[in-house]
Structure formats: structure tokens, C-alpha cells
Symmetry: C2
Subunit: 550 residues, 2 copies
């Protein structure tokens, strides 16, 4: 890359923004000071949200949109983002009133627009100087977990460096009475074992020897989808502070911005308790999902339709959260949070025993589950006298969850990469995904590391894999169709229409209990092969169709 | 034992019953024939329930108590039990109108009495001849899982012999049009791979070569406690039949005896699907409980109170079934059902891979969790300058679940056996348990195998361990108190009263999140030591009390 290119940040829509120069910083500082003064005069607290990514951008909006008991805004929010080529574009976007995240929730865009342009309670900046103006800093800097291999989460580490750097800057800049609320999902112990010494030391270097950093932790329970804003604002929160002052401050702050009347706060004694809470919560979910993997395979091998079994069990209120896992468990949190827990136990707390069993095993099971659909593709094609390397395979659905466009760690990514590794030609379709970032040339956004690429061979052909939005185009002349996500558009696909689009009998692989028995039987009548994760009963349906044909 | 003694069956209350002689069988056959004729003339179906144990006795009552659309009884029920010294007493008990099972549910005793003495729709017999009168046979013969070691459920096998014997007799006796409903929790595949060939062969030996056995499977979802009857009658059922006739018959039968209007039946295609359903359902529960074990230890070691974390997580509807596991997971089902599944996969289906991971691991974790409270007793006593071998330790609560008297595979049993193995003197208390069968001299009832005894040394002293019902007597002069079960009587025990009863400061071990922080602090003020499963915050409370004392 030329130096000129390096000085620009490109938005997902291809717009380019020149990174700020030293002169820009001076001007920005004046602007922020002036804004802070105006809002303080109106009795507003200054809240800096560090990191305007997936969570931070919407959190900034929720805080800026909140009102005090008289119905007026009580907070002025400065969204802060380091001016990297990867992320700088978010700042001008926000300052135009445009949300820098894509969301299925129709509340996101108008909320950001309203706060920036109408209420004027939200601005964005690239300058750390904003921190010195803050009454509250909300830290939404990502803490990833980097795996070194696929299927062994113990081999990996928490990527806590960005968070540590942010905390150092915070310690260097903030007023010591400022509340620092860490909202990032972190390894348990981070607030006390990592953040406290960093900020304390920075305070000491500023001569603030007696100042106790007012650190707090409170995790979000964000759920991508149509209720994204609501999942931040109108949902139960857990919080904690490192001392009594911090605890009181975080309770007060959250009570002012969230719907705590309907969703009361849970206040825990120590930050490690709320940090642990988040990890246990997501690890529990990962474990309940991983549990079904072995029974799914048992079902496939022994004539059981596991999806009907799951429905029969879910009817019990005590078992209603059972979910058929589909082709792997993606999303940003579930594949990593347990890893942060195990890492903390060994690294921050210094234990060397193998205490953790189900937590890491669940992640390993979930991470490798998506290797199974390619096996079913292989077996179904073989029944039709074909092999993967000379076949064209359509994967329908590339996001990690039904009816959202979030592709992070999706099972479909592994399905595609594995099929390509096996020599197949893959086309993909998804009504919600315009860019499948994990396969884009520019591996600079939305974030590095969110890809399984490094664990597979033959991935070079996948550069610029385009997500087809026309189903008929995606299905044309394919040998196999993988139904990978329960998007509503896929639930009632008519077998006759599908075979009309493919132009010939195909192998159909159902990864998610998408096909009902009538559809499966119809595919067999049309000469197709059908296999599915956990769907051991398809052989019975096939035999029935074949015997009727005779 | 003398021969005379061998001919008697002793009830739990010590009453003795002479086993039936050959002449008794003739007389019994006349009685049953006559009864069947009377009830058939009234348009009633004859239902034989094989095995009147924990499930069968109450199932027999539910069927006998059911009414047809005109409000009259539609079934005459014969409860059948092999006349062994262990179980024969149940027959005369039932025929007096007395339930042969102890239950906290106030509905059990009057239902049995009503059906036997008033409605006269229920009788009990020791004679297999009853089978030849049946329109429906409900099989409630136990199928245990025998473990060969503690903490490795893979080392063990399904004790399917009793069930096989029963099925052989059924095949020899029943009318081939009789529906055989297997209600026992069995290894998946049992109805098709085990029961079908046995009954089919018996039919052939009777010259009934063309008769297809009408086998069905439908599992109960019984929950010991105050809603025991309701958990059989008023709850969702899953069923399946081996062919269309059997499936139709089982749907009709269950619809006539259960509250299917409010709790609709789920009908699955094949028996293996409903058999698998039960195993997956209970294995899921076992897994969700086992999951918390590692986090409970993490919490203990790192200053986290896991019980508060669990409460903070349970508030989410998707996580509301999270349960703090206490000292191990007992009850008849959860410690064994996953074992039946793994055994079936390897034995009936003949696979040799290690497909199953979370299912057996969860049982192993749950089975060994109760070894931890004795460690906490040891550590707490050490803090007080004592060791286990010269200490007297009270264990409060011996059943496997709060506010019930069912002691099968309870965590408390392992706690007691381990403390004794370590040389401690143990006294036990439970308001719901009169006889702790696992420790009784007569190891003949309620069932063999329901004891962890064989995995511990030094258990001879425990013969006739008496369950103390007076708390003051149990606590007198003890060095340690283990709060093992969340019985309501233990939830609000006042620390001052407890120390008043012990007569000195003691080690208090909380296995089940029973103590609140005020109680813990008060114990410390009284000079006691407190430790608890997952309660890593006690050290903070202790330090606070100690610093205030200074």
C-alpha cells in the first residue's frame, strides 16, 4: 500500500476519509471543550464511550437518548474511537448522524440520528483528550480470544492488549473522580488484577498518589436482531464496583440510563463476580448447545429424528431453553467467552490444574460441529455417484443466526471453507448479508481475527466470494444444496421449485431441522438425496418413497 | 438365614408376610378370573401394571382412578409384583388399600385407598397369570445401571435382566392383541432390539407365528414431592408404538387415563425415538447441573459467591433453569439415564467410538461432587486446630432433594461415607427420612444397588446409622455441621441457636447456598469457621468480622 492509501480509512460502502493530522487534534480539543462546557452548564454529565463498535455505538446512543426525571437529556456523550485506517470512518459517520453499525433493529438508525442532529447529545471524536472531560468513561474496547487451532480452545489466549492500552490512556487523562465503567466482556479478575494496577500506576505518575481509581464492571447482554437497542436498554443488568464509591456511582449511572424499574439491577460485591457472571452465563449457553451434538450424531446413526425429540423435550418448562444447535455455534460471544474464563484461571490467578472440563469442551464441540455438514454433502453426493471435487454446492444462509446478517464465527463459514478444502466449488446465498467480511479482500474490518480462515488449506480461491442475493442464480446447475440457517425465506422452500432452479436432482443437506417430513419425502420423489444433522429418520422416509414407487 | 425367615417378606414397618404357596396360586387365579369377568361385564378394560414400585404403584392408582366420558371407571387394574422376600409385602399392603410407597404427596394414600376399597377398580397380585387377562400391560419393572467404580460411568452396564425376564413371561401369557406399554426408562432401542425379539419368540413358541407383538413405549416424568400424582397424570407425555396398531392403541390408552386435554401427547414415530427422548431429557438436566461444578470450584478459589452469580443469571428467561448443584446430584434417574444411553450405543447398536462426551462426563462430575464437602470439613476443622478423625460431624439433610424423603443416590450418602472413610464420627439428621435404607442392615429393600457403599472403606461402623429427628440431639457436642440439603427447616437456622446446641464454636459447611451473608458473618462473630461450596466470598466476610473485632 502507498502512504497515501495508508492515511485513509474506508467505510464499508467504499467512502474514504483522510485520517486526522496534528492540527486536527488542536481544533478537535477546542470543539470538545466548548461542547462539554455548554452541556455542563445545562447540568449534564459528560460520558465518554470508548470504542464505537457493535456494542459501543449503540450504548452511546442509549446514553445520549436517556432523560432525567424532568424528561430532559441528562448526559452528553462523546463516542471515542482510535483513528485507525480500520475504524476512523466511524467518527465522521456518527457525526453525520449515521450509525456505524448495520443492524436489523429499526430503532438504531433513528436513535443515532436523533441524538446527533436533533437532541445534539451525541458526538464522536478520535481524540483521547475527550477523556479529560469525562464524568463517566464507558469502556467498550474489544477483548478477543485468539485460538491457535480449531477444536482446542485451551490452546489460545485472551487478546487483552487493546484493553490494557486503553486503560493506560484513561489513567493518564481522566479526573480521578471519574467513574470508569468496563462494559467489555473480560477474563474474570481483569478489573482488579489488570485494570486497577494500570490506572493506579498512571495516577501515581501524575502525582495522584492518594487517588483510588473508581473502577466498575457491568456487562451488556446484547442480542443482535430486531430488538438490539432494547436488549441494551430494557434488560436486566449486573454490576459491581471496586470499592463503595465506584459501586454507588455505577448503580446511579445505570439507573439513569436503563429501564431499571422494569428490569432491576443486580449489584454484586466485587468486579470479579460480575465478570464471572457474564462468562458463566455464556458458557452455560454454549454448554447446553454443545450437549446436543453427541445426541444429534447418535440420532443420525440410529434412525432418530432429533429435531422432533428436541420439540418433545422443550415442552417442559424446565427444559424450554433446549436448542437444536444447527451447524455450529457462532456469534461473537459464545465461541470465546469460556476461553476467557479458562485463560483467567491459569494466567491471572496462576492455577495449573485442569479444573475446567465442560466449559472448554463445549466450545471445542461447537467449533467443530460445522465440519459434519460437509461430510453429509460428501455421503449424499456419493449416493448419487458424484464426488465433492467436481461438484457445485450452494450454501443457503451464511450468518450465525436466523434472520440476522451477523456472520461472525458462523458455522457456514466453516462449511464453506471445508467444502473448498475438499475441492468443491461453492456458491453462497443470504438475504441479510451484503458483505461477508470474513471472505473480503480487505481484511481490515470489521475486525481482524473474526475468521476461521487460517485453519483450512486452499482458501485462496475464496478471495472475494460474493454473497448471491438471487436464489435462482445461486441454485442454478448445483449438485448439492446445504440449508445452513433457519432464515424465514428458507423455511417453506418448495422442493419442486428448488429442483426447478437447480435443473436436476440434487443432494439436499438440512443442517437445522428446516425440512418437514413431507418436504423430505417430496425431495426423494424428485430423485434427490436428503441428509440432515440429527435427522436419522430420512432413511425411513426414503425407503417408504422407494417402496411406493415400485 | 433360616428357611423359615426366607419364606417371609418384611414391610418397612416390620410386619411379616408369608410368601404364597402353590395352593395360593390356584386360589389367586380363580379370584383374578372372577374379578376380570365382573369388570369386563361392566365394559371395563383390564390393565395389568407390572412392578408396583415407586412409579408402578402410583401409575396403577392413576389408571384405576380414571373415568370414561360418562364419569364411570373405564379400567380395572391389577398391580402385579413378583413374590420376592424384598417386595411381596407390597401386595397385601395394596389389597388393604395402603400405598406401598412413602410419598410427600397427600394425594397418594387416599387415591390408593379409594380405588381399592371404594371404587374397587384396583387389586394387587403376585401371580403372572394376571397377564393372560390383560387388554393392556404397563411395564414398570426397573432397569438399573450398575456402575463398577465411582466417577467413570462408562465402566458399568445396564441391568436389563429383570426387564428381559418380565418380557419373556409377558410373551408367554398375554393375548397377542394385548398392548404392552413399556414405561420403564430403558436404553434407547430396547423396545425394538430387546423386547420385540423376546415377545415375538415367545409368541412363536405358542404357535402364534403370525402375531405381531403390540409394543409401545411411553416414559413417565415423575417428580418426587408434593405433586407426585399430578406429575404422572397432569403432565406432558411422549409415546410411540412399534407399528401403526400399537401406536394407535397407546395413544387411545394414554388419552383415557391422563389429562391430555391440558397436556397434549407427543406421538413419535418409533419407540427408539421416545426412549431416546427420555435419556436426552435427563442427560440435559444432568449436564446443566454438572456444568456449574467447575465454576463452583473456581468461585471458591477466587473470592466469588457463585450462588449470587447463579441468581443474577437465572433472571434471564433463557437461563432460568440454571440450578446451583449442591453436594452432588441424586435421585433415581439423573445418575443413571445417560449411562443407559451410552451403553445402548455400544451394546445394542454395536458402535465402538467415543461419540459421547458431555453425557457421561456430566454423570461423573455429579457423582464425585459430594467428595468436596468432606474436603471443606477437613480444611475448616484444620483452621480450628482439629482433624477429622477425632471430630464429631453432624450432616443435616440426607435426602437427594429439598423437602422430600427420597434418599436414592443422595450426595449426603457420599458425604457421610467419605467422612467415615476419613475417620470421622458422623451423626445425621433429616426431618423427612425415617429409614435411610442405604445404611440399614437389611439391604434387601427398597432395591439393591441403590448405594454408594461399595466404593468406600471403613463402612462397617455405619450399619444401622440412625437418622436423628431431634436437631438439638444431632448437634450436641459436634465439631462440625454440614448443611447438606435445602430443607425448609434449615433455611433460617439462627447461628446463635446452632452454637447454643453444639455448645461450642464449630466448623459450618454450607453445601447448598443455605446461609446468607448475615448468618455467615454471625457465625464468624461466634468464633466459628465457615466454608461453602462455591462460596468464595466467606473469606471477605471473615476478614471484615475479624477487623471489626480488633
Amino acid at each position: 500500500m502507498s502512504e497515501a492509501t495508508e492515511n485513509y480509512s474506508h467505510s464499508p460502502n467504499g467512502e474514504s476519509f483522510l485520517l486526522p493530522s496534528p492540527a486536527d487534534y488542536e481544533q478537535e480539543w477546542s470543539r470538545l471543550k466548548q461542547l462539554a462546557q455548554i452541556h455542563r452548564e445545562r447540568g449534564r454529565e459528560i460520558v465518554v464511550v470508548m470504542g464505537v463498535g457493535f456494542v459501543g455505538a449503540v450504548m452511546a446512543g442509549v446514553v445520549a437518548d436517556s432523560t432525567n426525571e424532568t424528561g430532559s437529556p441528562g448526559k452528553f456523550v462523546i463516542g471515542m474511537q482510535r483513528p485507525s485506517t480500520r475504524s476512523y470512518w466511524k467518527i465522521p459517520y456518527l457525526n453525520r448522524g449515521v450509525a456505524p453499525v448495520e443492524a436489523e433493529d429499526p430503532e438504531v438508525a433513528p436513535m443515532i440520528k436523533r441524538c446527533v442532529l436533533d437532541k445534539k447529545t451525541l458526538t464522536a471524536t478520535f481524540s483521547y483528550d475527550a477523556l479529560s472531560l469525562a464524568d463517566v468513561v464507558v469502556v467498550d474496547v474489544q477483548c478477543d480470544y485468539h485460538k491457535e487451532t480449531l477444536g482446542d480452545v485451551r490452546k489460545g489466549h485472551a487478546a487483552i492488549g487493546a484493553l490494557e492500552k486503553s486503560l493506560k490512556v484513561i489513567g493518564e487523562k481522566i479526573d480521578p473522580r471519574c467513574l470508569v465503567l468496563i462494559e467489555t466482556t473480560v477474563p474474570p479478575g481483569t478489573t482488579e488484577y489488570v485494570a486497577f494496577p494500570i490506572v493506579k500506576k498512571a495516577f501515581e505518575q501524575r502525582g495522584l498518589d492518594d487517588a483510588e481509581p473508581l473502577l466498575a464492571h457491568s456487562f451488556e447482554r446484547v442480542m443482535p436482531g430486531r430488538n438490539y437497542v432494547s436488549s441494551i436498554r430494557d434488560f436486566w443488568r449486573v454490576c459491581s464496583g471496586i470499592n463503595d464509591v465506584a459501586r454507588d456511582k455505577v448503580v446511579k449511572f445505570l439507573s439513569e440510563i436503563l429501564n431499571v424499574k422494569k428490569f432491576p439491577l443486580t449489584v454484586l460485591d466485587r468486579p470479579i463476580e460480575s465478570e464471572t457472571c457474564k462468562i458463566v452465563e455464556n458458557s452455560y449457553r454454549a454448554a447446553t448447545l454443545a450437549f446436543l451434538d453427541e445426541w444429534s450424531v447418535f440420532a443420525e446413526r440410529n434412525g432418530v429424528d432429533i429435531t422432533k425429540v428436541v420439540e418433545a423435550i422443550k415442552i417442559r418448562p424446565t427444559h424450554s431453553n433446549m436448542i437444536f444447535p444447527g451447524p455450529g455455534i457462532g456469534g461473537y460471544c459464545l465461541p470465546k467467552d469460556g476461553g476467557l474464563g479458562v485463560w483467567a484461571y491459569q494466567t491471572l490467578m496462576g492455577f495449573d490444574d485442569d479444573l475446567f472440563k465442560i466449559t472448554p469442551m463445549s466450545i471445542d464441540i461447537n467449533d467443530t460441529r460445522a465440519l459434519r455438514p460437509p461430510q453429509l454433502v460428501r455421503d449424499a453426493l456419493r449416493n448419487m455417484g458424484k464426488i465433492v471435487p467436481v461438484s457445485r454446492i450452494a450454501v443457503l444462509g451464511v450468518s450465525y443466526r436466523q434472520d440476522v446478517g451477523d456472520t461472525r464465527y458462523s458455522g457456514s463459514e466453516i462449511i464453506v471453507r471445508k467444502l473448498v478444502e475438499m475441492g468443491g466449488e461453492v456458491v453462497v446465498h443470504d438475504p441479510y448479508v451484503k458483505h461477508w467480511w470474513e471472505f473480503e479482500k480487505q481484511d481490515t474490518y470489521p475486525a481482524p481475527g473474526h475468521s476461521w480462515k487460517r485453519f483450512f488449506r486452499n482458501q485462496d480461491d475464496l478471495v472475494d466470494l460474493r454473497v448471491e442475493t438471487d436464489l435462482a442464480v445461486a441454485l442454478e446447475a448445483v449438485d448439492a444444496v446445504v440449508l445452513a440457517v433457519r432464515h424465514s425465506a428458507y423455511l417453506n422452500l418448495n422442493p419442486d421449485e428448488v429442483v426447478g432452479m437447480t435443473g436436476r436432482p440434487v443432494a439436499v443437506i438440512d443442517c437445522f431441522g428446516i425440512l418437514n417430513d413431507d418436504q423430505i419425502s417430496r425431495y426423494f420423489e424428485l430423485g434427490c438425496e436428503v441428509k440432515g444433522l440429527g435427522r436419522g429418520h430420512v432413511k425411513r422416509l426414503k425407503d417408504k418413497v422407494r417402496s411406493q414407487v415400485k
